[in-house]
Symmetry: C2
Subunit: 119 residues, 2 copies
């Protein structure tokens, strides 16, 4: 029995045109990856709580640690990720770093998500 490697799954309900159209209109890998990273960052309960809190008012690492009930180290790790994705930024005042939301998109994403789960 000869085996052939083809770009085809085992079932026969093939709508090749649909697959082709999906490939044509698919996001580029970097756009898809970037969007996935953004959603994943907002997909952790504690990070989401951080973003929701910073939506109202800027806070320092220590405040956020108390608010969440986790170590400052844990908050710092999460804030680094959020900074890298440009979701938050900070300003220094003496020894204290105050973090805030960096972006109006984040606020709107949270609003939309809230609408969805309440439908």
């Amino acid at each position: 029995m000869k085996k052939v490697l083809v770009d085809q799954c085992e079932c026969r309900c093939i709508h090749q045109e649909r697959v082709d159209r999906a490939r044509e209109s698919a996001l580029a890998d970097d756009a898809n990856s970037g969007m996935a990273q953004l959603f994943k960052a907002m997909g952790d309960p504690n990070r989401l709580r951080i973003l929701w809190a910073l939506q109202q008012e800027e806070m320092c690492v220590c405040d956020l640690a108390r608010f969440l009930g986790v170590s400052e180290s844990a908050v710092s790790h999460q804030l680094r990720l959020l900074r890298q994705l440009h979701l938050v930024s900070n300003r220094r005042q003496g020894p204290v770093l105050y973090y805030r939301l960096n972006d109006e998109h984040v606020r709107r994403l949270m609003e939309l998500a809230l609408e969805h789960i309440r439908e």
Copy 2:
């Protein structure tokens, strides 16, 4: 040395009013959890590709498996999650299940995310 358990982190840059306000306006646990689940579901590259593809046109499991280059089983697992979160729904035509986006929110969430990463 006596140790006391207090709701307080070790640093002294305490803005208790900020922590209190954050707690007052914080999301309820179930809302926070629900939003996090939604974002997490959209935070996987393959699930995001599925949602993006279904935005255009309904597709069956087999089509999606070919499109992504993974097994039908993998797609089926992902679709179950997306169904549970009401992100997709399906219709049966004979033996074939056609999946489609269930919600306009998802489309807008993807648009907003795309805007964010292109800023």
